[in-house]
Amino acid sequence: MDQAPSPSQTAGPYFHLACTNPRSVRCVAGPNAKGERVRLICRVLDGDGVPVNDSMIEIWQANAEGKYHNPDDPQEKAVDPDCPGYGRLATDENGNCVFETIKPGRVPGNDGTLQAPHMNISVFGRGILKRLATRIYFAGDPATHEDPVLALVPKQRRDTLMAQPDPRQSGDWRFDIHLCGEHETVFFDV
């Protein structure tokens, strides 16, 4: 190893200029992608519960078969051209952003384990000096009980990683990210 990685710095409040409008990616999986449709409503809140209107959320996920659209995934499964698996959006004045996607399949973990369906999330923005990494799982999915990453998370905090289905609209899932405070979301050192 010759040198350490460059230090991270905050994206600040003006990242929209290059990263979102007009470079937003709302559609993580197109309408023709295989899999169960998901409309994912994310909300970012600060330590006082106040919506964060100047953050950016990125999603990275596998397709319905649990295969990533990336050459470093060696699994002998087909990629789905309609599921690039990447999205990024800025949060609005209410701290919200809405992605169109599908529920990903199960991706192998290490040592022969199988991970529960999940999305890999990055949060950037003003007041965030380095990328916050978290995961979104699907509440009620029985596979969450044998997920090797959730097993590393203290039981009482696992709920912070669960998107909840919206009972009013089938296919809508809600996920709140609490940057700090009483309900602080679990963030990972990846």
């Binding site: 190893m1 010759d2 040198q3 350490a4 990685p5 460059s6 230090p7 991270s8 710095q9 905050t10 994206a11 600040g12 409040p13 003006y14 990242f15 929209h16 200029l17 290059a18 990263c19 600060d46 330590g47 964060v52 100047d54 596998a62 990533y68 659209h69 990336n70 050459p71 470093d72 699994q75 690039p84 698996g85 990447y86 192998p108 290490n110 040592d111 022969g112 384990t113 199988l114 991970q115 890999n120 990055s122 923005g125 007041g127 965030i128 000096l129 990328r131 916050l132 090797p148 990453v149 590393l152 940057l179 700090c180 602080e184 979301t185 679990v186 963030f187 990972f188 050192d189 990846v190």
Partner: protein, 237 residues
């Protein structure tokens, strides 16, 4: 039978080279920085893969911020050139860089920026490019101005350009800022000072480079960026 996937992870590094999430001198971190310890995640396919994004629709003017409008922007024309490398010094080829910055007067073309400095009709302040096969990139732009912000009494951000990079994997994603050599505001800037290690801070300061400088046209600055690299495989060791 479940498949056995052998993952070669990306290296972890001394945390002194990175800012702490909570740095109270940068006031916005107080309500936005996690307080609980991060959960260390053994990397899986989810972390060693990442989006292959932004390769399709890059125009020539995207990397020359002085040619995106009918006229030329005001300010000191500069060339920013460098390489994107991994922590073993290997180039990171064909990866997207996105930049954004204030204009020469220190004003962003953004509805939230209410600094009383003029906008420049010939400057949008955003650019994008891909590294070549050797990890090299270049932007032509104008030197951004310093600007005041409301973090503390008489707070001014040093001149800087925001950089966003993907690398190959979720694990390598990086957003950072490039600064300019000799900027008198750097010692007073809590965002820059949030990086504990002095040497690490220095790596965000570009270097003036006479070889990049074009006679009668533009000053040249060199700015190399290092992303995390993968641990050596047994074959490479």
């Amino acid at each position: 039978m479940r498949p056995m996937i052998k993952v070669i992870p990306y290296r972890r590094h001394d945390e002194n080279g990175q800012p702490t999430s909570l740095y109270p001198a940068y006031g916005a971190t107080v309500r936005r920085a996690p307080r609980k310890p991060l959960v260390v995640l053994p990397q899986s396919l989810s972390e060693i893969t990442g989006p292959v994004y932004g390769h399709d629709d890059i125009a020539e003017a995207d990397s020359d911020l002085t040619r995106q409008h009918a006229g030329e922007p005001l300010g000191e024309r500069i060339i920013v050139r460098g390489r994107v490398l991994d922590d073993s010094g290997r180039p990171v080829p064909h990866t997207l860089l996105e930049i954004w910055q204030a204009n020469a007067a220190g004003r962003y073309r953004h509805k939230q920026d209410d600094h009383g400095a003029p906008l420049d009709p010939n400057f949008s302040g955003s650019g994008r490019t891909l590294t070549d096969a050797n990890g090299c990139y270049q932007f032509v732009t104008i030197k951004p101005g310093a600007y005041p912000w409301d973090n503390h009494e008489n707070a001014w951000r040093p001149a800087h350009i925001h950089f966003s990079l993907f690398g190959r994997a979720f694990a390598t994603r990086l957003i950072t800022q490039m600064y300019f050599p000799g900027d008198p505001l750097l010692p007073y800037d809590p965002i820059f000072q949030s990086i504990p290690d002095e040497q690490a801070r220095q790596r965000l300061i570009s270097r003036f480079d006479l070889e990049i400088t074009q006679p009668e046209w533009a000053l040249g600055f060199r700015f190399d960026i290092v992303l995390r690299g993968r641990e050596a495989t047994p074959f490479e060791a």
